[in-house]
Amino acid sequence: MTSDARERIRSFVREQLALANADKKFNDSDSLFVSGRLDSVSTVQFVVFLETEFGIDFAAQGFDVTQIDSVNAMMSLVAQQTGSTAPT
């Protein structure tokens, strides 16, 4: 489950970076938003993706862009949601 989730998130990040004409190379710990690589408004895409793909309810738990700033951060969110351990 976790490796599948990680791959889906990576794939989505790749897609968004391509749409932004940004460098498509990234590591799982690379900052996507705080570094300025992606627009803060484009977080919308990630919020919708995480809501629909993993059932994360940001309204209930609050939202902060650092929660989705990297693949690892998003994996932690997904792990909290599914109750599994976040892989490193």
Partner: protein, 498 residues
């Protein structure tokens, strides 16, 4: 959402993301050499002699702008940069010393209220403003402590609480329930709370993520590198993420700061030349003068009015870039890899992209305090409506609240009702802007980069600039002209006379 919204990396020149057109691959002549990309220069900037050279060069470039505060700014920035272990202390101490030395970066409502009450000779306005600032900082510490300690309602919605507090304070001040000294003190409180409102918002937003002493949060309440009422650099949580972590990063950050400061001076020279040419040589009126002439029944020619709009728009963009670059450059010298406040807005191909490139930290403020909270809670089953509504709350409602707070002296001068009525033109501006940004977000524009030079670059840029030029008609800070009077000018631009 359109792909061209997602370009803040390119929009700030910090990430690897750049436009992929042929123009980006062609070698470019640069007025200011890219020092941060020369390995020899970076290595030198890491040495003691190099650091001294960077600081001295920065001081020489800053002196014409900052005047007598240059040495203090440079000293504070150097302390922050070269003593990373004590960076928060250095920034906090420098900021508080700067504030107590001269708190007049925001308008003194105490002086204005004292004059209004006819007791100007009995009130020492600067001392009262300092006292109110000290009181505010103490209350801010208490608020940070309360929000950190009690995570239940209403303290889990601190921004809403703050907005209610500000609204209540303003209503009390505007109601004239108090007189003389009490009234002056209340207005002074409204002015101080309004000036620091968004700084406190960031601090309260950060408390759950930042376990440092609450007093450290005050270090970035109008930090020593500067800001308007919009915190440039946000709060400590953000600053900690962008601080240079080693000597190499610091050298690159400072060289980028040096470049940016040099660029701001070039823009400053361009601004003076442009202003002289447009105002003195071509005698193009300001938008305000064009509105006045329109109201008086003797309007300028339509082409002069178009020139007035274009010049006003360019003037705004240049001033935003000059101010923002200077502030960000100082923060970079202090060791913070801040993104630029303004990055090539005139190259924007969509309205949303322009908004992103024009005033980055203002947009971030609206996004964080209005867009996100709305987006995660409202219309979650209707994606387009959800995006539209969240954008409207940020670009219109948040924009109006920010400007109303900034211009709160209008309430003191005109009264609350008249000040609200006087805001009608700006409210229309904000609504039109919100609709424009929403449309630009919702419109699918995939492949715009591949559409060729004319259709992919020139025409989209021209459309964006035209939109913002026309919007200048309503971006009027004068609160005495009505919306229909501004519409009369708009129609006149197209040859229609009412």
């Amino acid at each position: 959402m359109s792909s061209d919204l997602r370009n803040v990396a390119s929009a700030n020149g910090v990430g690897p993301a750049r436009s992929v057109g042929w123009w980006s691959r062609a070698p470019r002549w640069r007025l200011i050499p890219p020092l941060d990309t020369y390995p020899g220069v970076v290595s030198f900037a890491e040495t003691t002699r190099g650091r001294i050279a960077v600081v001295v060069a920065f001081g020489l470039l800053l002196a014409p702008v900052q005047g007598k505060l240059t040495i203090a700014t440079i000293a504070a920035a150097a302390a922050s940069a070269y003593a990373p272990k004590y960076r928060r202390w250095a920034v906090t101490a420098a900021t508080l010393i700067f504030l107590m030395h001269d708190p007049s970066w925001y308008p003194s409502l105490t002086a204005l209220a004292a004059a209004k009450e006819g007791i100007a000779d009995r009130i020492d306005a600067p001392t009262l403003q300092r006292a109110l600032l000290a009181l505010f900082l103490l209350l801010a510490l208490a608020a940070i402590h309360v929000v950190r300690s009690y995570r239940r309602a209403p303290f889990n919605r601190p921004i809403v609480c703050l907005l209610l507090l500000y609204g209540a304070s303003l209503l009390i001040a505007a109601s004239h329930a108090f007189r003389a000294v009490s009234q002056v003190v209340i207005w002074g409180w409204v002015g101080t709370l309004g000036a620091y409102f968004w700084f406190l918002c960031y601090a309260l937003l950060d408390v759950s993520k930042d376990r440092a002493p609450a007093s450290m949060q005050l270090g970035v309440f109008h930090p020593f590198w500067g800001s308007s009422t919009t915190p440039i650099g946000k709060g400590w949580v953000y600053l900690r993420k962008v601080e240079a972590l080693n000597a190499h990063e610091l050298a690159i950050t400072q060289l980028k700061g040096l470049k940016l400061l040099a660029w701001s001076l070039v823009l400053r020279a361009a601004y003076y030349a442009f202003d002289y040419a447009s105002r003195q040589t071509l005698t193009i009126p300001t938008v305000d003068e064009a509105v006045v002439a329109q109201i008086a029944g003797a309007p300028f020619s339509w082409y002069v009015c178009w020139g007035s709009l274009a010049c006003s728009f360019l003037r705004d963009v240049l001033l935003a870039a000059i101010g923002g670059h200077t502030i960000v450059a100082c923060a970079r010298l202090a060791g913070f890899r801040l993104l630029r406040h303004t990055y090539r807005p005139l190259e924007s191909r969509t309205i949303a992209e322009f908004w992103n490139r024009y005033l980055f930290y203002f947009k971030e403020l609206l996004v964080e305090f209005f867009f996100y909270p709305t987006f995660i809670r409202c219309f979650r089953r209707h994606q387009r409506l959800r995006l539209f509504f969240a954008t409207f709350m940020a670009a219109c409602v948040g924009n109006i609240i920010w400007h109303f707070m900034r211009d709160v002296s209008a309430v003191l001068e005109l009264g609350l009702a008249q000040a609200v009525i006087g805001f009608q033109t700006f409210a229309f501006y904000a609504a039109a802007l919100a609709v424009g940004i929403s449309m630009s977000q919702l419109r699918p524009r995939r492949g715009i980069a591949d559409a060729g030079w004319l259709r992919g670059k020139v025409l989209p840029v021209a459309r964006v600039l035209l939109f913002f030029c026309i919007l200048e008609v309503f971006d009027d800070e004068n609160r005495t002209y009505s919306l229909p009077q501004h519409f009369a000018l708009l129609l006149h631009l197209f040859g229609v006379t009412l």
